[in-house]
């Protein structure tokens, strides 16, 4: 694109990187308040049990213990830790069961919270936990979703006879799927299994809560969606929303883990009872096993294809294992089905069904990619299998069937604004040397193979959820500006990108814009940083606010210069006459004279926007993987990953690459090493430490190359689309297809550990 930008498209380090490099960035665990207590949670050793009695007397008598809470001390308000089902979905979509309380009367997985204490220091808090005397009535437990649906299975929630939390019939089927299969010359039908993946951010879950003497609650929590989270807390605790302030300290990684309530409800309950601030930090074991991870699925996929390679029908049936509580699993399963049927490929006949099932295992919900993980693992291999069936090369087959601009979008009654997927596939194939490597004969003990998978992911949750973002910007007397946004920086670089957009839209230097976020008292509403939405929606809000401020700036300057506004522009903090650029004024001068004004026309130049997404403009990706596998041991090394992505215009290519590379390595872990294991007979978590839950290290790093297809979309701010999630889910099927290429073995279960390959 030939357009000249001063800040958009530049590799500018985001504003918070220096404080992170010097150790001065404050995270939740670093917060110290006067009189602050240490909170600890007692967690269930049983997978399924009634809590009959909790004797707190010994713990209460321990000096230094300031509060103890059990199920009798918490509000009787049912909720879902997933903030989404509360208020963010339209009323007609809010039918999912609200199946959690701050502390429940039953425990439904090992690690489920039973009680909590707050004490003056950590060792007293630990001792107090030991002194709590809990009487459980152990109940039979079930750890497999298919077993859980059988008539004689133990009932995990009273309202669910068959442990099915939600049954979903995908609401946007198209055509006639049975007819579509009849029209097919071949049908590919296979079932795949994907285990959980834990977000495993390096920062364990943490919360600090404090009530002041007026009953005003301040919460410090590294949450991704602070405005909606505040509303759910207000509901649970019956506190007027205006009396809650949510502050985000720096967030040490999230990936969806902090899109739900985590430590906050228990922390707030302790703070309320103690009348003192409480800090509740989780151990790594708790972070891994007590909070959400990505949902497990058993997914059947069926694809009908004609001999010429045209896909005629797509169908999927999903069994999603939610664990002990529903959390995100029904929404992610909906997204799974949506992406499977309407993601990357054209198909006139589609349908899907799903059961989201309770088991007595750790809760499973939303993680980066959000449901697409199981669906794309399934689809990515079905495509490879179908191509083989009709004797076509996979890349050729994919190019024949992918959606293009003007086709129905992720939601079929919307139209795809644009798609760069064809470019992604062609450029990626060329980069990795697809033709030559595919054609090579695979033999010997150590074999190399090559595979690819492609997909789409939503930018925003439009039209399913609230998509509202507001931004304000004000000019300071020195010509600098303060930008106030509700978006949440969790490492993705969003605040820097918003600054770049504001700088470009307003015409002042990016280095002169100070961004403020993470405070619900100051920031106006934002639906939060999830669904890859912030750059697109908040970016548009920031741009609109910046343009409003620019309009005021030019109006003032026009009066001073005696020139009509249409003849003026502003660039890099200087207002100038377009036809005679040497004639102009510094922004600082105009801004100052508007504030310190002696003509009776005082004004603090500013802009404000409150808008919502009006489009769903998905991003696209093609991932190519080259692997080497030892056919005797099943040990696999990923040699190369080529990532070719269409994320619209990259506002900051450096942070976009960082998102794609980081997501791809998480995808690598999901594919190969992150086995979220628990004992199939007892439900005891095996993956409760970083020794047993293996996330990739530098030794796992393949050669990674990123290709950004530059295709600005009309609806995005300077043409940008979302980039936060798209990089993850196509890695696993690309590797699986590479294994098939090398060995002729199709691995249908994640993670693809050596014993599953040979």
């Amino acid at each position: 694109m030939s357009q000249e930008f001063s800040f958009v498209g530049k590799r500018i380090p985001p504003p918070d990187r220096a404080e992170k490099a010097t150790g001065s960035a404050v995270y939740g665990a670093d917060i110290k308040l006067p009189g602050m207590l240490v909170g600890k949670v007692l967690r269930s050793p049983h997978p399924h049990a009634k809590i009959m009695r909790i004797d707190t007397s010994k713990a209460e008598n321990l000096p230094g213990v300031k509060a103890i809470i059990t199920k009798d001390d918490v509000p009787k308000k049912a909720f879902n830790v997933t903030i989404l089902p509360h208020y963010m979905l339209p009323p007609e979509l809010r039918g999912d069961p609200l199946d959690q309380y701050v502390l429940n009367d039953k425990v439904r997985f090992i690690g489920d919270a039973v009680a909590a204490v707050a004490a003056t220091n950590e060792s007293i808090a630990d001792k107090a936990l030991e002194l709590l005397d809990v009487e459980y009535e152990e109940l039979p437990a079930v750890f497999d979703p298919i077993e859980a649906m059988k008539p004689d299975a133990p009932k995990i929630h009273d309202f669910s006879e068959d442990n099915v939390s939600v049954h979903l019939s995908f609401p946007f089927p198209t055509g006639d799927v049975e007819k579509g299969f009849q029209e097919a010359d071949s049908i590919v039908d296979a079932t795949f299994r994907a285990m959980n993946q834990d977000h495993c951010p390096l920062e364990p879950t943490v919360c600090v809560a404090s009530f002041d003497t007026d009953g005003r609650l301040t919460v410090w929590s590294p949450c991704q969606i602070i405005h909606p989270a505040k509303k759910v807390i207000a509901y649970i605790f019956d506190i007027p929303e205006g009396k809650i302030r949510w502050l985000t300290p720096h967030i040490g990684g999230a990936f969806g883990a902090k899109q739900s309530l985590t430590a906050e409800p228990i922390c707030i309950a302790l703070a309320r009872k103690a009348g003192k601030p409480v800090k509740l930090e989780s151990t790594r074991a708790e972070e891994l096993t007590a909070f959400e991870s990505r949902e497990r699925v058993i997914q059947n996929g069926k694809l009908g294809v004609k001999n010429d390679g045209t896909i005629t029908a797509l169908q999927t049936k999903v069994i999603a294992d939610a664990g002990g509580y529903l959390t995100h699993s029904s929404v992610t399963t909906f997204i799974n089905m949506r992406g499977f049927l309407h993601g990357a490929y054209r198909c006139p006949n589609t349908a899907a069904e799903a059961d989201v099932v309770y088991t007595n295992t750790p809760i499973a919900g939303g993680m980066r990619g959000y449901g697409d993980s199981g669906g794309v693992f399934t689809m990515g291999q079905l495509i490879d299998m179908a191509a083989e069936k009709v004797g076509m090369d996979t890349v050729e087959f994919v190019l024949k069937n992918i959606k293009r601009a003007g086709d129905p979008s992720l939601v079929p009654f919307l139209t795809l604004e644009d798609s760069g997927l064809e470019d992604c596939i062609k450029l990626g194939a060329e980069k990795i040397g697809w033709k030559g490597k595919k054609a090579k004969k695979k033999e010997g003990v150590k074999r190399r193979g090559i595979g690819m998978a492609c997909g789409a992911h939503n930018t925003t949750a439009y039209p399913v959820a609230v998509e509202h973002s507001s931004a304000t910007i004000k000019l300071n007397p020195d010509g600098s500006a303060n930008l106030v946004v509700g978006s949440c920086e969790m490492g993705q670089g969003i605040l820097g990108s918003l600054v770049q957009i504001a700088a470009e839209g307003l015409g002042i230097n990016a280095g002169d814009i100070h961004v403020i976020a993470g405070d619900t008292d100051i920031t106006q509403f934002d639906a939060g940083s999830h669904a890859s939405r912030s750059l697109y929606v908040m970016g548009n809000a920031v741009l609109e606010a910046a343009r409003e401020a620019k309009g005021q700036l030019l109006e003032r300057a026009g009066k001073t210069l005696g020139v009509p506004v249409e003849e003026l522009d502003v660039k890099e903090s200087r207002i100038y006459v377009k036809s005679a650029p040497e004639k102009g004024l510094p922004v600082a001068e105009v801004a100052q004279n508007a504030i310190y004004n002696f003509e009776g026309e005082s004004l603090n130049i500013s802009g404000r926007s409150s808008l919502e997404a009006k489009q769903l403009s998905p991003s696209f990706i093609a991932i190519f993987a080259e692997i080497e596998v030892d056919t005797e041991t099943g040990k696999l090394k990923v040699l190369r990953i080529v990532i070719a992505a269409d994320v619209g215009r990259a506002i900051n290519p450096m942070t976009v690459e960082g998102q794609l590379e980081g997501a791809a390595i998480q995808g690598l872990g999901y594919a190969l090493t992150e086995d979220f294991a628990f004992d199939k007979n007892t439900g005891v978590p095996i993956s409760d430490s970083l020794e047993s839950y293996k996330i990739p290290s530098t030794l796992d790093l393949p050669n990674i190359e990123v290709i950004l297809v530059d295709r600005p979309v009309p609806s995005g701010p300077f043409g940008a689309k979302g980039a936060g999630e798209i990089g993850l889910v196509c890695v696993a099927p690309a590797i699986a297809n590479a294994i098939y290429d090398a060995m002729g073995i199709r691995v249908k279960e994640l993670p693809m550990m050596p014993e599953r390959i040979i």
């Binding site: 220096a18 010097t22 390096l202 720096h250 790594r284 450096m654 960082g658 791809a664 530098t698």
Partner: protein, 161 residues
């Protein structure tokens, strides 16, 4: 041994600490010295976020008993910059996109410092090996490796560690 007053040197400064025998160094640094730049990611020595340098060598402060490093020179992330002048490694991390959430960053930077002092011109493989004990969940390591190699070049040319 009960509680004892012990002297520590952190970033060149003396501190008097009330020390209990079972205290880990990270607890002393974060809670008593009050330097919270050193992060705790796991408490079991698996993630490397708690890395500090003791006499120039990287150690895991969550697994190191404070009592064993009483007489040594401890460097935390807060001691790297000279006033407001960032160290070349810090600048390289910032400019190469090697920082996202920042939680692994202090440990990564200090491990890098120890590496470059020992090996001023490391190969990619040497960098990957040296950083293999520092987990990063956000960035996938690609830009961290770029930053380390860039820092190595800056230091070799500027002669400053």
């Amino acid at each position: 041994m009960g509680k004892q007053i012990s002297r520590f040197t952190v970033n060149g400064d003396p501190y008097e600490i009330i020390l209990e025998p079972q205290m880990a160094l990270i607890e002393v640094l974060r809670d008593q010295v009050g330097l919270t730049g050193t992060k705790c990611g796991c408490g079991t020595g698996s993630c490397g976020a708690c890395t500090v340098l003791v006499d120039g060598k990287p150690i895991l402060s969550c697994l190191t008993l404070a009592v064993t490093v009483k007489e040594r020179n401890i460097l935390t992330i807060e001691g790297l910059a000279e006033g407001s002048a960032l160290h070349p490694i810090q600048r390289a991390f910032i400019n190469n996109g090697a920082i996202q959430c920042g939680f692994c960053t202090p440990g990564m930077i200090l491990t890098t410092k120890a590496l470059l002092e020992k090996t001023p011109n490391p190969t990619r493989e040497e960098v990957l090996m040296a950083l293999s004990g520092n987990l990063c969940r956000c960035g996938g390591y690609v830009k961290i490796v770029d930053a380390v190699l860039a820092a190595a070049e800056i230091i070799r040319e500027g002669g400053q560690t």
